[in-house]
Amino acid sequence: MNTATMPTDAQALNTSPPDSAELHKIKYGIGNFAIWFLIIIELSEFAFFFIVFLIGKAHYPEIFYQGPPQLNTMAAMLNTLLLITGSFCVARAVAAIRRDDRKHAVFFLWLTFFMGFSYCIIKIWEYQWNIEAGFDSSSNYFFGIYYYLTFNHFVHVLMGMSVILWVTIGLHMGHYNSKHHATLESGGLYWHMIDLVWLVIFPLLYVLR
Protein backbone atom coordinates (compact mmCIF):
# COMPACT_ATOMS: atom_id res chain seq x y z
CA MET A 1 0.00 0.00 0.00
CA ASN A 2 1.18 3.51 -0.79
CA THR A 3 1.74 5.20 2.56
CA ALA A 4 1.79 8.68 0.95
CA THR A 5 -2.01 8.53 0.47
CA MET A 6 -2.75 7.45 4.07
CA PRO A 7 -3.95 10.26 6.39
CA THR A 8 -1.86 11.05 9.44
CA ASP A 9 -3.48 10.85 12.90
CA ALA A 10 -3.75 14.64 13.06
CA GLN A 11 -5.48 14.80 9.68
CA ALA A 12 -7.88 12.02 10.67
CA LEU A 13 -8.86 13.85 13.85
CA ASN A 14 -9.48 17.13 11.97
CA THR A 15 -11.63 15.53 9.27
CA SER A 16 -15.29 16.35 9.79
CA PRO A 17 -17.97 14.40 7.90
CA PRO A 18 -18.80 16.03 4.54
CA ASP A 19 -22.05 18.02 4.36
CA SER A 20 -24.71 17.33 1.68
CA ALA A 21 -23.19 19.78 -0.82
CA GLU A 22 -19.80 18.10 -0.51
CA LEU A 23 -21.33 14.61 -0.83
CA HIS A 24 -23.21 15.76 -3.89
CA LYS A 25 -19.98 17.13 -5.40
CA ILE A 26 -18.18 13.83 -4.71
CA LYS A 27 -21.01 11.77 -6.24
CA TYR A 28 -21.74 13.68 -9.49
CA GLY A 29 -18.92 16.25 -9.86
CA ILE A 30 -21.38 18.81 -11.20
CA GLY A 31 -25.22 18.80 -11.18
CA ASN A 32 -27.25 16.05 -9.52
CA PHE A 33 -28.93 12.78 -10.48
CA ALA A 34 -32.27 14.42 -11.36
CA ILE A 35 -30.82 16.99 -13.77
CA TRP A 36 -28.52 14.51 -15.54
CA PHE A 37 -31.40 12.03 -15.89
CA LEU A 38 -33.59 14.78 -17.35
CA ILE A 39 -30.84 15.96 -19.73
CA ILE A 40 -30.16 12.43 -21.02
CA ILE A 41 -33.92 11.81 -21.50
CA GLU A 42 -34.37 15.13 -23.34
CA LEU A 43 -31.34 14.53 -25.56
CA SER A 44 -32.65 11.03 -26.37
CA GLU A 45 -36.07 12.45 -27.24
CA PHE A 46 -34.53 14.93 -29.68
CA ALA A 47 -32.20 12.24 -31.08
CA PHE A 48 -35.35 10.25 -31.93
CA PHE A 49 -36.78 13.28 -33.81
CA PHE A 50 -33.49 13.75 -35.67
CA ILE A 51 -33.57 10.10 -36.77
CA VAL A 52 -37.18 10.52 -37.96
CA PHE A 53 -36.10 13.61 -39.91
CA LEU A 54 -33.19 11.74 -41.54
CA ILE A 55 -35.42 8.80 -42.48
CA GLY A 56 -37.89 11.24 -44.05
CA LYS A 57 -35.01 12.94 -45.88
CA ALA A 58 -33.82 9.60 -47.25
CA HIS A 59 -37.32 8.62 -48.44
CA TYR A 60 -38.33 12.01 -49.91
CA PRO A 61 -35.03 13.54 -51.12
CA GLU A 62 -36.66 16.09 -53.47
CA ILE A 63 -38.92 17.63 -50.80
CA PHE A 64 -36.12 17.72 -48.22
CA TYR A 65 -33.63 19.17 -50.73
CA GLN A 66 -35.99 22.04 -51.53
CA GLY A 67 -36.86 22.63 -47.85
CA PRO A 68 -33.82 24.45 -46.36
CA PRO A 69 -33.62 27.22 -49.03
CA GLN A 70 -37.30 28.02 -48.32
CA LEU A 71 -36.51 28.71 -44.65
CA ASN A 72 -35.24 31.96 -43.14
CA THR A 73 -31.55 31.10 -42.54
CA MET A 74 -30.83 34.59 -41.17
CA ALA A 75 -33.39 34.12 -38.37
CA ALA A 76 -31.93 30.70 -37.55
CA MET A 77 -28.38 32.07 -37.50
CA LEU A 78 -29.41 34.92 -35.18
CA ASN A 79 -31.12 32.40 -32.90
CA THR A 80 -27.97 30.24 -32.86
CA LEU A 81 -25.88 33.26 -31.85
CA LEU A 82 -28.43 34.15 -29.14
CA LEU A 83 -28.46 30.63 -27.67
CA ILE A 84 -24.65 30.39 -27.69
CA THR A 85 -24.52 33.78 -25.97
CA GLY A 86 -27.13 32.50 -23.49
CA SER A 87 -24.86 29.53 -22.70
CA PHE A 88 -21.94 31.91 -22.32
CA CYS A 89 -23.94 34.06 -19.86
CA VAL A 90 -25.01 31.04 -17.76
CA ALA A 91 -21.41 29.79 -17.63
CA ARG A 92 -20.24 33.24 -16.49
CA ALA A 93 -23.03 33.35 -13.86
CA VAL A 94 -21.93 29.97 -12.43
CA ALA A 95 -18.28 31.08 -12.46
CA ALA A 96 -19.30 34.30 -10.64
CA ILE A 97 -21.29 32.55 -7.89
CA ARG A 98 -18.39 30.13 -7.32
CA ARG A 99 -16.32 33.12 -6.19
CA ASP A 100 -19.25 34.64 -4.27
CA ASP A 101 -19.67 37.46 -6.80
CA ARG A 102 -23.49 37.69 -6.59
CA LYS A 103 -23.67 40.99 -8.47
CA HIS A 104 -22.14 39.55 -11.65
CA ALA A 105 -24.05 36.28 -11.27
CA VAL A 106 -27.37 38.18 -11.20
CA PHE A 107 -26.32 40.32 -14.16
CA PHE A 108 -25.42 37.29 -16.31
CA LEU A 109 -28.58 35.39 -15.36
CA TRP A 110 -30.78 38.32 -16.41
CA LEU A 111 -28.77 38.51 -19.64
CA THR A 112 -29.46 34.79 -20.23
CA PHE A 113 -33.18 35.40 -19.72
CA PHE A 114 -33.00 38.27 -22.22
CA MET A 115 -31.27 35.98 -24.78
CA GLY A 116 -34.07 33.44 -24.37
CA PHE A 117 -36.71 36.16 -24.74
CA SER A 118 -35.00 37.48 -27.91
CA TYR A 119 -34.88 33.91 -29.27
CA CYS A 120 -38.66 33.62 -28.77
CA ILE A 121 -39.33 36.94 -30.55
CA ILE A 122 -37.19 35.89 -33.55
CA LYS A 123 -38.80 32.43 -33.66
CA ILE A 124 -42.31 33.91 -33.67
CA TRP A 125 -41.24 36.31 -36.44
CA GLU A 126 -39.77 33.35 -38.38
CA TYR A 127 -43.06 31.42 -38.10
CA GLN A 128 -44.92 34.54 -39.27
CA TRP A 129 -42.47 34.88 -42.19
CA ASN A 130 -43.08 31.21 -43.16
CA ILE A 131 -46.85 31.63 -43.06
CA GLU A 132 -46.66 34.75 -45.24
CA ALA A 133 -44.50 32.76 -47.69
CA GLY A 134 -47.23 30.08 -47.73
CA PHE A 135 -45.55 27.38 -45.62
CA ASP A 136 -47.31 25.80 -42.68
CA SER A 137 -47.10 22.41 -40.97
CA SER A 138 -49.34 20.81 -43.63
CA SER A 139 -47.33 22.07 -46.65
CA ASN A 140 -45.22 18.91 -46.99
CA TYR A 141 -43.27 16.32 -44.96
CA PHE A 142 -40.29 18.66 -44.55
CA PHE A 143 -42.38 21.46 -43.08
CA GLY A 144 -44.33 18.99 -40.94
CA ILE A 145 -41.14 17.79 -39.23
CA TYR A 146 -39.65 21.32 -39.23
CA TYR A 147 -42.62 22.71 -37.26
CA TYR A 148 -42.72 19.73 -34.92
CA LEU A 149 -39.00 19.92 -34.11
CA THR A 150 -38.65 23.69 -33.84
CA PHE A 151 -41.87 24.18 -31.86
CA ASN A 152 -40.82 21.44 -29.46
CA HIS A 153 -37.49 23.20 -29.01
CA PHE A 154 -39.30 26.54 -28.60
CA VAL A 155 -41.31 25.05 -25.71
CA HIS A 156 -38.04 23.86 -24.14
CA VAL A 157 -36.63 27.40 -24.41
CA LEU A 158 -39.71 28.69 -22.55
CA MET A 159 -39.12 26.06 -19.83
CA GLY A 160 -35.43 27.00 -19.71
CA MET A 161 -36.37 30.68 -19.29
CA SER A 162 -38.67 29.74 -16.39
CA VAL A 163 -35.83 27.82 -14.75
CA ILE A 164 -33.42 30.74 -15.24
CA LEU A 165 -36.03 33.14 -13.81
CA TRP A 166 -36.50 30.82 -10.81
CA VAL A 167 -32.78 30.65 -9.97
CA THR A 168 -32.39 34.41 -10.57
CA ILE A 169 -35.11 35.11 -8.01
CA GLY A 170 -33.41 32.62 -5.66
CA LEU A 171 -30.13 34.45 -6.14
CA HIS A 172 -31.81 37.82 -5.46
CA MET A 173 -33.18 36.31 -2.23
CA GLY A 174 -29.68 35.20 -1.20
CA HIS A 175 -30.26 31.43 -1.53
CA TYR A 176 -26.95 30.74 -3.29
CA ASN A 177 -23.31 31.33 -2.42
CA SER A 178 -19.91 29.91 -3.33
CA LYS A 179 -20.55 26.74 -1.27
CA HIS A 180 -24.25 26.15 -1.97
CA HIS A 181 -25.26 26.72 -5.58
CA ALA A 182 -26.22 23.25 -6.84
CA THR A 183 -29.71 24.43 -7.94
CA LEU A 184 -28.27 27.34 -9.91
CA GLU A 185 -25.71 24.98 -11.48
CA SER A 186 -28.46 22.49 -12.43
CA GLY A 187 -30.59 25.27 -13.96
CA GLY A 188 -27.54 26.28 -16.00
CA LEU A 189 -27.02 22.69 -17.17
CA TYR A 190 -30.62 22.56 -18.40
CA TRP A 191 -30.05 25.76 -20.40
CA HIS A 192 -26.87 24.30 -21.94
CA MET A 193 -28.87 21.22 -22.98
CA ILE A 194 -31.29 23.48 -24.89
CA ASP A 195 -28.31 25.10 -26.63
CA LEU A 196 -26.80 21.68 -27.49
CA VAL A 197 -30.05 20.54 -29.12
CA TRP A 198 -30.23 23.71 -31.21
CA LEU A 199 -26.61 23.15 -32.35
CA VAL A 200 -27.92 20.02 -34.13
CA ILE A 201 -31.25 21.50 -35.31
CA PHE A 202 -29.55 24.46 -37.03
CA PRO A 203 -27.39 22.47 -39.49
CA LEU A 204 -29.93 19.67 -39.90
CA LEU A 205 -32.90 21.84 -40.87
CA TYR A 206 -31.37 25.02 -42.27
CA VAL A 207 -27.91 24.16 -43.60
CA LEU A 208 -27.60 20.56 -44.88
CA ARG A 209 -29.32 19.72 -48.16
Binding site: K27, Y28, G29, I30, G31, W36, I39, I40, L43, A47, F50, I51, L54, I55, K57, A58, H59, P61, P68, T73, M77, T80, L81, I84, T85, S87, F88, V90, A91, R92, V94, A95, R98, G188, L189, H192, D195, L196, L199, V200, F202, P203, L204, Y206, V207, L208, R209
Partner: protein, 105 residues
Protein backbone atom coordinates in the same frame (compact mmCIF):
# COMPACT_ATOMS: atom_id res chain seq x y z
CA UNK B 1 -8.49 15.19 -23.50
CA UNK B 2 -8.05 18.94 -23.86
CA UNK B 3 -8.39 20.41 -27.33
CA UNK B 4 -6.49 23.61 -26.46
CA UNK B 5 -4.02 22.56 -23.70
CA UNK B 6 -2.17 25.91 -23.71
CA UNK B 7 -5.40 27.66 -22.62
CA UNK B 8 -5.25 25.90 -19.23
CA UNK B 9 -3.31 28.87 -17.86
CA UNK B 10 -6.24 31.22 -18.52
CA UNK B 11 -8.77 31.99 -15.80
CA UNK B 12 -12.18 30.28 -16.01
CA UNK B 13 -13.84 33.53 -17.16
CA UNK B 14 -11.28 34.16 -19.90
CA UNK B 15 -11.63 30.61 -21.19
CA UNK B 16 -15.41 31.06 -21.38
CA UNK B 17 -14.95 34.37 -23.25
CA UNK B 18 -12.48 32.75 -25.66
CA UNK B 19 -14.71 29.79 -26.50
CA UNK B 20 -17.76 32.04 -26.85
CA UNK B 21 -15.95 33.95 -29.62
CA UNK B 22 -14.83 30.67 -31.25
CA UNK B 23 -18.42 29.32 -31.19
CA UNK B 24 -19.77 32.52 -32.75
CA UNK B 25 -17.14 32.35 -35.51
CA UNK B 26 -17.87 28.67 -36.20
CA UNK B 27 -21.59 29.47 -36.50
CA UNK B 28 -20.90 32.29 -38.97
CA UNK B 29 -18.57 29.98 -40.92
CA UNK B 30 -21.19 27.20 -41.14
CA UNK B 31 -23.84 29.67 -42.28
CA UNK B 32 -21.51 31.17 -44.90
CA UNK B 33 -20.68 27.70 -46.24
CA UNK B 34 -24.37 26.81 -46.37
CA UNK B 35 -25.32 29.95 -48.27
CA UNK B 36 -22.40 30.13 -50.70
CA UNK B 37 -21.06 26.64 -51.49
CA UNK B 38 -22.63 24.11 -53.84
CA UNK B 39 -24.04 21.20 -51.78
CA UNK B 40 -21.63 18.24 -51.80
CA UNK B 41 -20.52 15.35 -49.61
CA UNK B 42 -17.46 17.36 -48.58
CA UNK B 43 -19.69 20.21 -47.34
CA UNK B 44 -21.79 17.68 -45.40
CA UNK B 45 -18.64 16.38 -43.69
CA UNK B 46 -17.41 19.92 -42.91
CA UNK B 47 -20.78 20.92 -41.40
CA UNK B 48 -21.06 17.72 -39.34
CA UNK B 49 -17.49 18.10 -38.07
CA UNK B 50 -18.18 21.76 -37.15
CA UNK B 51 -21.33 20.66 -35.27
CA UNK B 52 -19.37 18.02 -33.33
CA UNK B 53 -16.65 20.55 -32.41
CA UNK B 54 -19.20 23.18 -31.33
CA UNK B 55 -20.99 20.62 -29.18
CA UNK B 56 -17.72 19.61 -27.54
CA UNK B 57 -16.80 23.22 -26.79
CA UNK B 58 -20.21 23.90 -25.20
CA UNK B 59 -19.99 20.69 -23.13
CA UNK B 60 -16.41 21.22 -21.94
CA UNK B 61 -16.12 24.97 -21.58
CA UNK B 62 -19.67 26.20 -20.86
CA UNK B 63 -21.30 23.21 -19.16
CA UNK B 64 -18.16 22.18 -17.30
CA UNK B 65 -18.77 18.55 -18.25
CA UNK B 66 -15.12 17.74 -17.47
CA UNK B 67 -16.05 18.02 -13.79
CA UNK B 68 -18.86 15.44 -14.11
CA UNK B 69 -18.33 11.78 -13.24
CA UNK B 70 -17.07 9.63 -16.17
CA UNK B 71 -20.38 7.78 -16.69
CA UNK B 72 -22.28 11.01 -17.35
CA UNK B 73 -19.39 12.69 -19.17
CA UNK B 74 -18.86 9.93 -21.74
CA UNK B 75 -22.60 9.37 -22.29
CA UNK B 76 -23.05 13.01 -23.27
CA UNK B 77 -19.76 13.19 -25.19
CA UNK B 78 -20.87 10.20 -27.26
CA UNK B 79 -24.06 12.06 -28.27
CA UNK B 80 -22.03 14.65 -30.17
CA UNK B 81 -19.83 12.00 -31.75
CA UNK B 82 -22.48 9.48 -32.81
CA UNK B 83 -25.15 11.95 -33.97
CA UNK B 84 -22.95 13.94 -36.44
CA UNK B 85 -21.57 10.63 -37.80
CA UNK B 86 -25.11 9.28 -38.26
CA UNK B 87 -26.25 12.52 -39.92
CA UNK B 88 -23.28 12.49 -42.34
CA UNK B 89 -23.71 8.79 -43.21
CA UNK B 90 -27.46 9.07 -43.74
CA UNK B 91 -27.00 12.02 -46.12
CA UNK B 92 -24.07 10.46 -48.00
CA UNK B 93 -25.63 6.95 -48.19
CA UNK B 94 -29.43 7.54 -48.17
CA UNK B 95 -30.15 4.34 -50.14
CA UNK B 96 -29.02 2.19 -47.23
CA UNK B 97 -31.28 4.08 -44.80
CA UNK B 98 -34.20 3.70 -47.23
CA UNK B 99 -33.49 -0.02 -47.53
CA UNK B 100 -33.50 -0.67 -43.78
CA UNK B 101 -36.55 1.53 -43.08
CA UNK B 102 -38.86 0.39 -45.87
CA UNK B 103 -41.71 -1.86 -44.80
CA UNK B 104 -42.81 -4.44 -47.42
CA UNK B 105 -40.41 -3.34 -50.17
Amino acid sequence: MTIFPSLKRLSKERRINFFWVILMLLTLFATYIAESATPSHFIVLVICFTTAIKGRFVMDEMMGLREAIPGIRYTIYSYFILLPIFIALSIIFPEFLVKITTINP
